[in-house]
Amino acid sequence: MEVSINIGIRDISAFMPEIILFVTGLLLMLLDLIIKRKEILGFVAIAGTVVAIYSTYKLSAYNDPISAFGGMFLLDGYSNLFKVIFYINIILTIFISLRYMKIEGASYGEYYALLVLATTGMMIMASAGDLIILYLGLELMALSTYILAGLLRRQFRSNEAALKYFFLGAFSSAFLLFGIALTYGLTGATDLNAIAEAIKTLNIANNPILYLALVFIIVAFGFKIAIAPFHMWAPDVYEGAPTSVTAFMSVGPKAAGFAVLGRVLFYAFQDVQIDWAGVLVPLSILTMAVGSIIALAQRNIKRMLAYSSIAHAGYMLLGIIARSSEGLAATVNYLLIYTFMNIGAFAIVIALRREGFQGEDLEDYMGLSKNYPLASALMLIFMFSLTGIPPTAGFIAKFYIFMAAINAGYVYLAIIAVIFSVISAFFYLRVVMYMYMREPVKEVILSSPPSMSIALAITSLTILVLGVFPSLLLNIVRASIL
């Protein structure tokens, strides 16, 4: 196979946001050596991200999708939307972690560098037009998050989280490589469009080996987005990792996983005769069931949010299952809204943390509304949004995804999904109940430095505004994807 190595200025410019972030990451590592106050590094990271956002914004001005590096790197509305998710994710994460990392005694410069590098990896994944590039992005993201999970190196559970995540992550990478290898063996290509082409021309649409490859790939990304039965790592890792990293991980890698899943399934395997949507249906039901039901038994709020994030992955799958661009738009829309409500909820969890007080037990939330009415009201908004009760954005996310599923003929799946969302209502409500309807048992001091307040304001306002005016987001999403 002939490989073209003509790299033009156009290719570089399409890759600009990633380059900027990557350089920011390296710069952060260098600055770490000179700068003593690590919060400054956080702001450097934000500055780098803002420059990257500007670059993405400039690039999105081109109406036509850009295909750079001979099709290896795709820049279209789809990838840009995901990049927006990653940008929001990293900025909000940095906002909520400035004070938190100091309390944890883990105010390392690497922290910000790794966040930036992980984000770079995710962005490469979202833009990957080739399985090899995809793998590169995945590993960059994964390796960074392994370290992030274990950043609290004096804490037993953080070590456990990192190790568990690493081992299982390595497994999933192996699955992915296996899938890629099988695909390459059959089609002779790693380029997504070329794979689709080869499946057609070689007439291997119902080749069992291709099915196997497809299943391997779904398993690998199922691991990243934490769908059952590949979710086992999630609760332990989410609980053990620093809370800000948990917030980061529950959105970023999940979104990246969905980005790739959507891209690979819709581009490369569109014509495979096995109905991959049919493969995902039982996974989706299982995911919603596991997430919603096990969350009921959790007393630790981080663990509860971990299971909730598993359940949400189940709902998001509905959009992929719908197998239409409308469905894809619904999934992306869901992910965007989920980013805000999930990070918002984690922000409150972090606000409870202080020296010598974990603030992770449900009991810690008892009577919170008495002393902190505003924080409780915000948590109430996040919880109801995660449940999917209007007028919050969480409802719009669910509504749109159910629409896509029902339009594709999966009425029964929509019914199952709404029933699980009622079950999940119980554990979200329990948080509200503890805050508003119980008397405080512990002395809880909430601290909210300006950066945290900004993050909370952004997340809660976005949730309410999008809940009432969903068009603001829907128009963008639909314009980029449909």
Binding site: I389, F399, F402, M403, I419, V422, L429, M433
Partner: protein, 521 residues
């Protein structure tokens, strides 16, 4: 727009009416002084009434079309719009909601002494959502209001309620949510079947195939039956009504549970007439069970408030019986009875709240002799007891009479069973009255060292006066209210009975008969 009458007033009256309480919520957010908060809250509830008043005077009673319609694009990419309007059915509920909200603020003046701000925010948010439900002409808008009610209600019950409040609040929330989400799926199915629109009027014009009607009817039934509540999904009601603070009980009994019946009228009947006919018999049977069962359970109650809560089950059974009789008398009686129930049961909960503030007990056994201790109170309570029983001259009589008339027309035995329910109703209400007001006063409240109770004060009397007026107004001159709905109801009945459904009236029973015969063989 076709088939609707646009708003001709100088201002968007329905939008103002619905969202004025929400503005009140925002104002309250910035207030600190408790007294000021109460007055502001009262101000906004009364202002809502003033703003909405032209609806009554400008309402055209001679048309079944939607009036005061406002239309704006909302989510154009999905074909979803902001559309509000009212007809002869919704206008009455709007005023019921507005008036009860004012009374709720008044009755909570002293009863609520902690978290006053949050409480009034809850009440105003509730008012906004409830009004929104009655005016929405777009399904998504409707659903958003319908669900948004859950949040403030959950908080109202759970924070300011009685001892068992948390259990009651969660039970209420989950029960209603299960029903609503099934309706949501139904709504989305309608959206695609109706050509990507959620306009309720457009969707009502379509003739749906029977199988689709069948399933959609069930999906909507899940939401409405829980809300009404119909037997056997009524079990959340006694807990929620009993544990809620007085204002919460009044809102629940007065407005919230009417929404289920309103849903039947607005959606199930015009959209799924065939399925309505098909399910008519089992629904009527469930209504009759609710009437008799609810009344019998009342006899066993030891708790003042719980007794009234169970009487709601019985009374709502009358309402649904009237609706499912599917004739003019039945439906009009049902709607009127909803208003009556809102007024009477709302008043009874207010009265229980007033006496609870003094005695801090809900056990009937702790009462007795209150006619002597609180004569004014006893008199007003008598009025509502009699209205609840349905004594001629009170509003209860008109509603129940129309319903029984309608039921009789549908099938005689329905009328007979419903009439038995009325007798039972008289039994438990009068027995309650006897136990609370007659006999000798309890030693707690009289004699040396006792904890005295005082009669109603000016604010409390003022709270009750409007409701007393309504009791007699509806009772003596019901046409003032029936006039509003005549045309709309007749149009609705025509629509339901004009179905092409060949199965006739009692399809469901035949189906079951066949089934049993098959198994038998």
């Amino acid at each position: 727009m076709e088939g609707v009458i646009m708003n001709k007033l100088s201002y968007p009256i329905l939008t103002y009416t619905v969202f004025l309480p929400l503005i009140g919520v925002f104002v309250l957010l910035f207030l600190k002084n408790e007294k000021l908060i109460r007055w502001t809250s009262l101000f906004f509830t009364i202002l809502t009434l003033i703003i909405a008043f032209p609806l009554l005077t400008h309402f055209d009673k001679n048309t079944h079309l939607m009036q005061f319609v406002e239309f704006h694009e909302w989510i154009p990419s999905l074909g979803i719009n902001y559309m509000v309007g009212i007809d002869g059915i919704s206008i009455l509920f709007i005023f019921l909601t507005i008036i009860l909200s004012i009374l709720c603020v008044l009755v909570s003046w002293r009863a609520i002494d902690k978290k006053v701000k949050e409480f009034h925010i809850g009440i105003l948010a509730m008012e906004c959502a409830m009004l929104g439900v009655f005016v929405s002409l777009d399904f998504l808008l409707f659903y958003i209001f319908w669900e948004a009610m859950l949040i403030p209600m959950f908080i109202l019950i759970g924070v300011w309620g009685g001892e068992n409040r948390v259990y009651a609040a969660i039970k209420f929330f989950l029960y209603t949510l299960v029903g609503s989400v099934l309706m949501l799926v139904g709504i989305v199915v309608l959206y695609f079947y109706g050509g990507k629109t959620l306009n309720i009027l457009e969707l009502s014009k379509i003739n749906y195939p029977f199988t689709l009607q069948f399933w959609l009817f069930l999906a909507f039934l899940a939401a409405f039956a829980v809300k009404v509540p119909m037997f056997p999904v009524h079990t959340w009601l006694p807990d929620a009504h009993t544990e809620a603070p007085t204002a919460g009980s009044v809102i629940l009994a007065g407005v919230l549970i009417k929404m289920g019946a309103y849903g039947f009228l607005r959606f199930s009947m015009p959209m799924f007439p065939d399925a309505m006919q098909f399910f008519r018999l089992p629904l009527i049977v469930l209504s009759l069970i609710a009437i008799i069962y609810g009344a019998l359970v009342c006899f066993a109650q030891k708790d003042f408030k719980r007794l009234i809560a169970y009487s709601s089950v019985s009374h709502m059974g009358f309402v649904t019986l009237g609706l499912f009789a599917l004739n003019t008398q039945g439906v009009e009686g049902g709607i009127l009875q909803m208003l009556n129930h809102g007024v009477v049961t709302g008043a009874l909960f207010l009265l229980v709240g007033i006496v609870y503030e003094r005695t801090h007990t809900r056990l009937i056994a702790d009462y007795g002799g209150f006619a002597k201790l609180m004569p004014w109170y006893a008199g007003i309570f008598m009025v509502f007891t009699l209205a609840s029983i349905g004594l001629p001259g009170t509003n209860g009589f008109i509603g129940e009479f129309l319903i029984i008339f309608g039921a009789f027309k549908a099938k005689k035995v329905f009328g007979v069973i419903a009439a038995i329910g009325i007798i039972l109703g008289a039994g438990y209400m009068l027995w309650l009255y006897q136990r609370v007001f007659f006999q000798n006063p309890h030693s707690h409240y009289e004699g040396p060292g006792g904890h005295p109770v005082w009669d109603m004060n000016f604010r409390e009397v003022i709270t009750m006066i409007p409701l007393v007026i309504f009791v007699f107004w509806i009772g003596i001159y019901p046409n003032a209210f029936l006039d509003y709905m005549h045309v709309t109801v007749n149009h609705l009945i025509d629509k339901v009975n004009q179905t092409g459904y060949a199965g006739g009236d009692y399809m469901f029973s035949e189906l079951i008969k066949e089934g049993i015969l098959k198994i038998w063989k």
